[in-house]
Amino acid sequence: MAATGSVYRNNSNIDSSNNGSSNNNSGSSNTTNYNETKDLPISFSATLTEEALYDPRGLQYVEPTQTSLQCSVCCEYFTEPVSAPCGHTFCRACILQALEVRNGCPLCRTKIDPAMLYEVIALSRICDELLVYCPHKELGCNHTCQRIQIGQHLKDDCVYIGTLCREHHKTCPAESVTCPHCETTRARLRHLEHIKTCPQQIIPCTLSEFGCPWKGPRFDLEAIHIPQCPYEAIRGFLELSKSKMEALEQENQHLRGIFHDLRPQVQQLRDQVGQIQESLQLIAEQEQEQAAGSNINNSGGGISFGTLGGFMDMNYHQYQHRPQFSPRIDRRESYDLVSVNGVDNEMEMERQRASTMNRNNSIGAESMMSSGAGAGGVMTPGNAAEAHELLISENERIRSEIETLTAGLASLELKQNMAIMTESMRIQEEVQSLRAVCHGLRMQMHYLLLEQQNLRHHPGPPPPPGSPAGAVGGNQPGLKGSVNGGPSGDSTANGRSLSVSGPPRPRLSDGLGRQDTKL
C-alpha cells in the first residue's frame, strides 16, 4: 500500500533526524524539539512500535479541514509540508508518491526534482498546532491535543496504548507458546498442530462415548489401554447399535414431522363431525316437533317409523355428500374400501386408527339401536346422539356393502382374465397350426419351382429333390424371402403339403416368408 510506504519513509526520516538532533534536545530523546520541526513534525519514534504503524496523515482533526491548509493530493491538513520550485505546497509523502508515478507538479505539471523540495516551516507550525483526536478514539480515548503533542500522549498518557497489542497477543501466530502437557515450546501456529498429536496430552479413551471411563496420556492409549479396554472387545456391536440408534433417531424425527402434519387434519375432521352433530341435533328437534304434532292425530308407531325412515334417508344423503366437500374423509373411505398404493405407513396407521374409532362408535350405535328396537320396536328420534350413531351405523352398513361389491368385482375380473387367457391360448394354437400349413404350402411351391427351373435350364439330368435353395436364389428374386425357411423345413413340409394343392403364387409365398421372418 502506498500509505505504509510513505510511513516507512517518514520513519527513516525520523530516525535520522533524531540522531542528528539528539545533542540539542534537553528533554526526552524520543520527543523532537519544536525547533527541530524541519525534520519531524510528529514524534512517532521507533521505540513506539505500535504507533509507528499509524499514518500521521490519518489523524482525525477536531476542526473541519480548512481548504487553505489542505494538501491538494490527500485533501487533509498538511503533514510535513514541502514546497516545489513552482510554488505549490504538498505533504512531503504526497508529493514524493506523486513524483514516483509521474514527474510533475500535481497542480501545474511542472517538472520537479525531489531534491529541490524545501520545507515550509511556518505552515508546518500552524498545522502542528491544530487539535487532533487520539488515534485510539474508537477504543475509548477521548483525549484531544495539538498535533505536535499526540506522540507524547501516545507514549506517556494514553491508557489504550497497548489495547491493540494485547488483543493481538492472544492470537498472534508467531508468539512462542509452551505446550501445557509436554513442556515443549514452539510458535503458536505450530503449537496448534502439535496439540493434536502431543503424546503427553491427557485424552479420554476413543470409546469414551460408549462409557469407557479411562483417561490418560495419549501415548498410553495405544500401548496400554486399548488392549485392555473392555469396550474394545464389543466395539463392533457398539458401533452397530450406535448407527442403529442414529437411524432410529432420524426415523423418529421423520415420524414426528408427519405427526405434526397430521394433527391439524385430525382437528379439522373433529370439527366437521361436530358440525354434523349440531346440524343433526337441529333436524332431530324439528322431527320431534313434527312427531309430537302428528302423534296427536294418528297412532304413534307407524308415524314414528316413517319419520325414522325419512330420517335415515336424509342421513344417507348427508353421508353421500360428505366426501364431496371434504376430500380427506373421502381418502379415508377409499382406504377402507381398497388399500391405497404409495401412501406412507404412518398415514395408513393414522387412518386405520380413525376408522377403528369410527367402527367402535358404530358398534355402540348398533347396540343402542337394537336395544331401542328390543324395547318397543319403535324408535322416537328425540336424541341427537342416538341419531348420530344411527347415521354412523348406516355408514358402516354401506361401507360393508361396498366392500362386498369390491370383492365381487375383483373375483369377476379374475374370472374374466382367466377366460381371456384360455381363449387366447386356443387362438394361438390355431394360428400355430395355420402357420405350419402355410409353411408346408410354401415349401411345396418352392420345390415345384425349383423343379421347373431345373427342367428349363438343364433338360438332361434331373436335380435331386430338396437341393439347397441358395444355389438358385440369385436367379429368383421373387423367392428371396422364402430362403429364410431353409432347407431344413423341406423334408417335414413336403409330406403334409401334398394334401393342400394350389397354384404357385410367388407373391403370396413372398408375403408369407416375410411374416415368417417377423414371427
Binding site: A2, A3, C74, C75, A98, L107
Partner: protein, 150 residues
Amino acid sequence: MALRRLQAELTDLNRNPLENVSVGPSDDSNILHWKGHILGPSNSPYKGGIFKIDIQFNTDYPFKPPKVKFTTKIYHPNIDEEGAICVALLKNDQWKPATRVNQVLRALVTLLEQPNPEDPLMTDIAEIYVTDQAKFQKTAKDYTKRYASS
C-alpha cells in the same frame, strides 16, 4: 490514501453538492466504485434527460485518474457508444493528482453543454455537429428522449 481522500471528497460533495449532479459510492462496502446521475443541462439538446455515470477509482487514486463512463446512451461527439468519455482532464498523461471528483463532474456537465468537436471520439457525430447543427440538435434530442428519459 485513496480511501481517505475519497472519503474526504465525498464528505465535501455532500456538504457542497453540485448543481444537476448527484453522485456517491454504489454500495457502502466499496468506496472505490461510484455511481451518479447528471441532469441534461437546460441550454443543451440533452435537456430533460437523466444520464447515468459510473466512476471506478483505483487504489492508486489520486495519482492515477479514475475511469469515468456514461452508462446511458448519448449522442455526443466526445462520448462513444460504450460510454467512454474523451475529456482532457481524465486522460492518463494529463491527469493531475490535485484534480478532484467535483472538478471532473463539472467538466462532464460542461462537455454536455459545449461538445468539443476538435478532439472527437465519434468523428461522424463531430462532423454533423460542425456542418449541420440542426440535425445534430434533433438527433441528440431524439436520443435523449429515447434513452435518457425516466
